[in-house]
Amino acid sequence: MARIALENVSLDFPLFGAGSRSLKKAFMRLGTGGRLARDSADTVVVKALRELSFTVVHGERVGLVGPNGAGKSTLLRVLAGIYEPTQGLVESEGRPVALFDPSLGMDMEATGYENIMLRGLLMGLSRPELREKTADIAAFTELGEYLAMPVRTYSSGMLLRLAFAVSTSFVPDILLMDEWIGAGDARFLDKAQERLHGMVEESGILILASHSEEIIRRLCNRAFLLEGGRLIAAGTPEEVFAVYNDQGRAHEGF
């Protein structure tokens, strides 16, 4: 049974080289949520997450909502085990699989088939498991003969299909996504959602950060509103969007 529990998790993100004013300014313009505080040694520290505590259990599909820089992506990376929090405890049962940027971790010179193998191994599958699944994965991508060609010749939509197909070829305990499901053509989006629904029903947890109210309402049964690294509201997507929209902010951020 998949389960994630965060207890009082805070994460300070150091921005090195920020002594140069230009970078700091650029970041100030970029980051809206993260409070900028000055560290003693002329290093800017962004308080990306602050005192987060929550528990997500099996079968829940959580949408993360909030303006740009609210800490959604950072939180996903903490849940994926990529960032270790500065403070607090993250307990997770089950193996997380993160789908952040589909083209990352792909070898552009290698063929689609080789990338299926590569990505699968990176996600912790074994070679025999992958050999067994390759046909299924290939069928789901609908890329046909393109799979024998180098990935650099693919369009971004094709890359996405490939990444999605591999990453969802087995039912992960915990699936983490950062706003990319909107890419790809409409028919593939339907197909992807069908697969996602199936995956979540079978087991595990979905955590999806998105700016799209529609996608979160359709996919999620729970939502968290983040702002400035804090958890402002939690509840059903309807409740959370009511709070969010009440704040008079467009959901695209600023």
Binding site: F16, I82, E84, A98, F100, E109, L118, L121, L122
Partner: protein
Amino acid sequence: MQQIRLAASDLIEGLRAWVVWGLLGWQDVRQRYRRSLLGPLWLTLSLGVMVGGLGYVYGDLFKTPIDSYLPFLTGGFVAWGLISTLITESCTVFVAAEGYIRQLRLPFSLHVFRLIWRNLIIFFHNALVFVVVAIVFKIVPNWGLLWLIPGLFIILFNAFWVGLVLGALCARFRDIPQIVSSLIQVVFFMTPIMWKPELLANRPVFVHENPFFHFVELVRAPLLGEAIGRDTWVITIGFGLIGSVLAFLFFARARRRIAYWV
């Protein structure tokens, strides 16, 4: 204490993921093959041309007979190619793997293993130049060549801790790679690779107190069929042991921050 345990499990998990770094490292090499006929053999070829050209000019300059100078030079270059590439690529080992580091939870050591594996494969490509030279100058291999195996192992062992340390430091301070590559160039000229150690008999400091000389010897001496000196064993193994302990303590402190730095 917990950080030490996490660092240790990073190293163990990294080693155990040999299927992954084996494939990644292999793919790095294959990438060089893919769009050209010669692939990594281009590097081998250019090494061959360089060694051939330098051999004739410097052999004359140093008044060393070519049939002893050229094998010495080739062995030195093959060894130096491995050592210097391992060091300079260590600087980018984590920065270049940013895509993996920020998307997947993988042991950090995996990227270092990949780097080492890739350079070992390329080393064997470059060693072909020595084979050609050995054939031309009729060097008959003797059992001493087997010392190459422990010699290489010591180099790679040292490369592992250097990779962890330089990889993390260079991710944090982005100007270190430039410093390292200029230092490497200086070291190249100060280390007996182009010139024989006997030529500097009145300043043995540059030879015997220069760790790079000993690391080069680990490869060059077996190739030339000579015995590896006792000092070389002591210094290189000592470097490996002391370095890896210090590097481990450093890695235990730095590990969790690498993901922020890249």
